[in-house]
Symmetry: C2
Amino acid sequence: MNYLTYIPIWEKLNQLQQDMLMDSAVIRRFRKGEILHNGADDCTGLILVVSGQLRAFTISDEGREITMYRLFERDICLFSASCMMNSIQFDITIMAEKDTEVLVISSEVYKSIMEVSPILANYTNEIMASRFSDVMWLVDQVMWKSFDRRLADFLLSEANIEGTNILHITQEAIGNHLGSPREVVTRMLKYFVSEGLVRLSRGVVEIIDEDGLSKWNKTKR
Amino acid sequence: MNYLTYIPIWEKLNQLQQDMLMDSAVIRRFRKGEILHNGADDCTGLILVVSGQLRAFTISDEGREITMYRLFERDICLFSASCMMNSIQFDITIMAEKDTEVLVISSEVYKSIMEVSPILANYTNEIMASRFSDVMWLVDQVMWKSFDRRLADFLLSEANIEGTNILHITQEAIGNHLGSPREVVTRMLKYFVSEGLVRLSRGVVEIIDEDGLSKWNKTKR
């Protein structure tokens, strides 16, 4: 199976361009927890997710993390190919959140086609605008939303991604998603327990009142 | 004078494309404090700064503001033409920070050229990547830097932009740049006064110890 057909504009590229991309693409598999890409100096190539799930995050000087966005099946990551564009001046780390299979596309080949193909260049523009929107949403969250609402939002979004209310996630991992110390997460989760919204056990957060959590998130206070 | 030559790739466009852009472009002037563009529904067109200074910011539901980036002479703003791309899903407001002259370029004309010209499409990619880098810097600041260091950084950067240590700026305006309530700004500025770093008078913040403020900003605490 040619996973490059996951790219929506694939059929609009000419035969030569398709052949160049196919020849340059390599399947790679990563175990849950493995790092695929680490910072702007590391020009891994474009990453197309075949199956599994990736997390893109940044790390502070002190080693704290915050999630920028997630990548699911058929998503493409540009920032793992930051050498492709001069103006990308930031570091992003990408980790497998589940066992993940990806297609890595050579940055040089992609760039050389983008330089002559307005179709590929405009498609790239759309991907970047879409990630930009994710990060603007994040700015909005961290600037204006209180931590309890961000946590409620995160738990509901995880339940939605996983398709279950029983979330196998450590409190430290939650902190790394939200850019908050584990203690802050623990305190707020305990408060949610006392409100009857969630139940905690080792490495598990179970949502027992989805409606309540959802209302919590929406209430303006 | 044809200000479109400010676009670095101008000479690489063909005659027809240059003519189309020239015919679509309109000079507009804005007074300090005027809003040029307001949110994603408002498709103003691409804005090329001829002279003056613009500020791009977002506004919370409660009306608080935070500056995303500044635009100076020869800079181009894409997000004022958000109808150009489907994936731009956020609202940005653009205000004149000084009396400003801009060239407004039609979104439809720009888009129609971008669809056939890889040169213009790739140039647009570079602009977006550059703004993306600005916003990633902002995320880093608001997540990991304490408010005193962000304030010190902001004052030094303003002094650098204005070319003077005497800044005509209200404490409320500083709050709007940094996404913080005025009271928080006032408290920290008073602390800087007590440390001998700045002097305050009505509508003015004067930096009297640039080195001290600069060290303040760099000290890890």
